[in-house]
């Protein structure tokens, strides 16, 4: 188990339990009562910590190394997953994955950014930062889904689109812009869920849907708190403050009407009970696709355009 800095009290309690267990096996003493007490203390402490998370702590949670990534959800929620590779132009982008899958017997196209689960994989997945070919692959798969009239599910988890020389040569800006433009008019239901980090245009590039949702302990905004700190505060050390000011939590985003729904996580975050999280998400997807299927495609598109067109705040004189 890996603990974040604000989980220190939990870490201490777990350490005490381990100590007791060691002691009892060495000295043959019964410590079950003390262990039970410690376990209930863990539950209370966990609930306390998790009901008072700061925005920055939520950002930390969204990046927890044990947090489930796209492939985990695919494995748990779907059957018959067939990954589809490549953008048909340049290469296959390992930071963006997708493919055919069955959700409760229903064909869907699943697409998402994928982070690596260890050092080697993190490099291979480019830390979940897609290049233009990733966005173009995503669009290619969406078009297949549209052609065969199957819903599209995107799972968003990225610290941003990759800022590199090749990315610019191959038109990172154009690739994202094209996706926004094309996703607006997809004739099939589109559900987007932020499962970890929702950073900027890199997240939005697969984020135009009939329902855009966030798992409880995720964030979604225009820039990472670190970069925001470095630009606006001219120092890297105001990330907590930036996270606060950006109002980037699922609660904030839902109150602004910029996301449609927040999906609750298990107490202790998605990583403390990944299976539970996948079960909740799966049920949500089945229910939501059912609702969206009842709306005819033209109305769905109209509502999608209407929703995004309303976003923004300004004063209007007269």
């Amino acid at each position: 188990m890996q603990f974040l800095d604000f989980e220190k009290p939990l870490e201490d309690l777990y350490a005490q339990i381990n100590k007791l267990k060691d002691m009892s096996s060495k000295n043959q003493v019964d410590v079950s009562n003390s262990i039970r007490e410690l376990e209930s203390a863990i539950e209370t402490t966990r609930t306390n910590i998790y009901s008072n998370l700061t925005p920055w702590q939520k950002v930390q949670l969204s990046r927890h190394p044990e947090r489930p990534y796209t492939l985990y959800y695919i494995e748990k929620m779907f059957t018959g997953f067939n990954e589809l590779y490549g953008d048909r132009q340049v290469k296959d982008d390992k930071a963006m994955i997708g493919g055919m899958a069955m959700l409760n017997g229903m064909p869907v196209m699943i697409i998402g950014q994928q982070k690596g689960i260890n050092t080697k994989m993190r490099q291979m997945r480019n830390f979940g930062m897609a290049n233009p070919e990733g966005y173009r692959k995503a669009l290619r798969l969406m078009k297949i889904a549209e052609k065969f009239n199957h819903p599209i599910i995107t799972l968003i988890d990225t610290p941003g689109a990759y800022p590199g020389i090749e990315a610019e040569e191959r038109g990172q800006g154009e690739a994202i812009a094209r996706n926004l433009f094309e996703m607006v008019n997809l004739r099939v239901p589109v559900i987007c869920v932020v499962i970890g980090e929702g950073a900027s245009g890199g997240a939005l590039g697969i984020g135009i849907g009939d329902r855009v949702c966030m798992l409880e302990n995720t964030w979604y905004t225009v820039i990472s708190p670190e970069s925001c700190s470095s630009i606006l505060w001219r120092s890297w050390s105001f990330k907590e403050k930036a996270a606060e000011q950006l109002k980037l939590t699922s609660e904030n985003m839902s109150s602004f009407g910029l996301v449609d729904e927040v999906i609750p996580e298990p107490v202790g975050g998605a990583h403390s009970n990944p299976e539970g999280m996948a079960t909740t998400l799966k049920a949500f997807l089945i229910k939501t696709i059912g609702e969206l299927n009842k709306i005819d495609p033209d109305t769905r598109i109209e509502q999608r355009i209407e929703k995004f067109s309303k976003m923004g705040f300004y004063e209007e004189a007269e």
Binding site: E174, R178, G201, F308, M311, A317
Partner: protein, 283 residues
């Protein structure tokens, strides 16, 4: 010329002539690129392009409109839409104060000005960004003015053009600024369905969320010479890859060679080129 906007303009509800920058002779300008000096008048008469080295000085909507609209006659649209600090964003300075400062120093309401007028007698709606207003950053007002400009163009069946000049999204509006990318792209699909031309002109600089939305979505994407155009800023890329960037990286020629621009146009030739293109589109 029978459309409503033109009649209203003729009645004198709004023209831009009083906003026109005075360009008296005798005041000298030094080119930031080649250091050559010219009078401000000479520079103005050459579309703010250096007579010696062709450096395109950064200009804002008022100057573009004077350059493009016939007789500098146009109606500024949606000027009643003003920014609001809804999040109470505070970094080293409150966003509210930043807005007031920018409004005071520029005389503008926000980083976007929309005008309707004619280019060589062809009607067009132009949305032009003002880089002098908080770095031309894209916030809710920029997105809303584009949205309404598109509605106006659809209603009056006119071509639409955006002149981009922006550092990207306005961080002080957080996710609201991000969603302007989605909003403007969604509105552009409506313009496309109405089969009205959309011309995107990228000028120095066009980066971030602006590049990753409306700037790259033109029926034709064009740019001024040597404009910086990209998704990630050069500084960020340099820090990420820890290498020096090649010469000319993310400049107009680079984008054209990689297939992302239809053509590059000198500002002195912009009006002529646009009227050619508009004629092709609408004929």
């Amino acid at each position: 010329m029978s459309s409503t906007w033109f009649r209203r303009m003729k009645k004198g509800i709004l023209t831009s002539t009083d906003e026109k920058l005075e360009a008296p002779d005798g005041i000298w300008h030094k080119c930031p690129e080649c250091k050559a000096t010219s009078t401000v008048k000479e520079l103005h008469d050459n579309a703010y392009v250096c007579l010696k080295c062709n450096y395109h000085n950064r200009i804002n909507a008022v100057e573009y409109f004077e350059l493009l609209f016939d007789n500098n006659e146009y109606e500024a649209l949606f000027e009643n839409i003003k920014p609001r600090d809804m999040l109470g964003f505070l970094d080293l300075k409150p966003y509210d104060a930043r807005l007031k400062d920018a409004q005071r120093t520029t005389g503008l309401t926000d980083a976007m000005t929309v005008g309707v007028g004619t280019i060589n007698n062809q009607e067009i709606v132009i949305a032009c960004m003002n880089f002098n207003f908080i770095g031309g950053s894209m916030g809710s007002v920029v997105g809303e003015k584009i949205a309404r400009g598109i509605d106006f163009a659809i209603l009056h069946k006119m071509p639409f053009m955006i002149i981009s000049k922006s550092g990207g999204a306005r961080m002080m509006e957080s996710a609201f600024s991000l969603m302007q990318m989605a909003k403007t792209s969604a509105k552009l699909t409506q313009l496309a369905k109405a089969r009205l031309p959309y011309i995107s002109l990228m000028t120095d600089p066009t980066t971030g969320g602006v590049t990753a939305s409306y700037a790259m979505l033109g029926d034709i994407n064009i740019a001024e010479p040597k404009a910086l155009i990209g998704f990630a800023g050069p500084r960020v890329i340099k820090e990420t890859i820890k290498k020096d960037l090649p010469a000319g990286f993310q400049r107009s020629d680079f984008l054209l060679e990689h297939g992302f621009l239809d053509f590059i146009v000198d500002r002195t030739n912009l009006k002529y080129k646009l009227s050619q293109v508009l004629e092709w589109f609408v004929k």
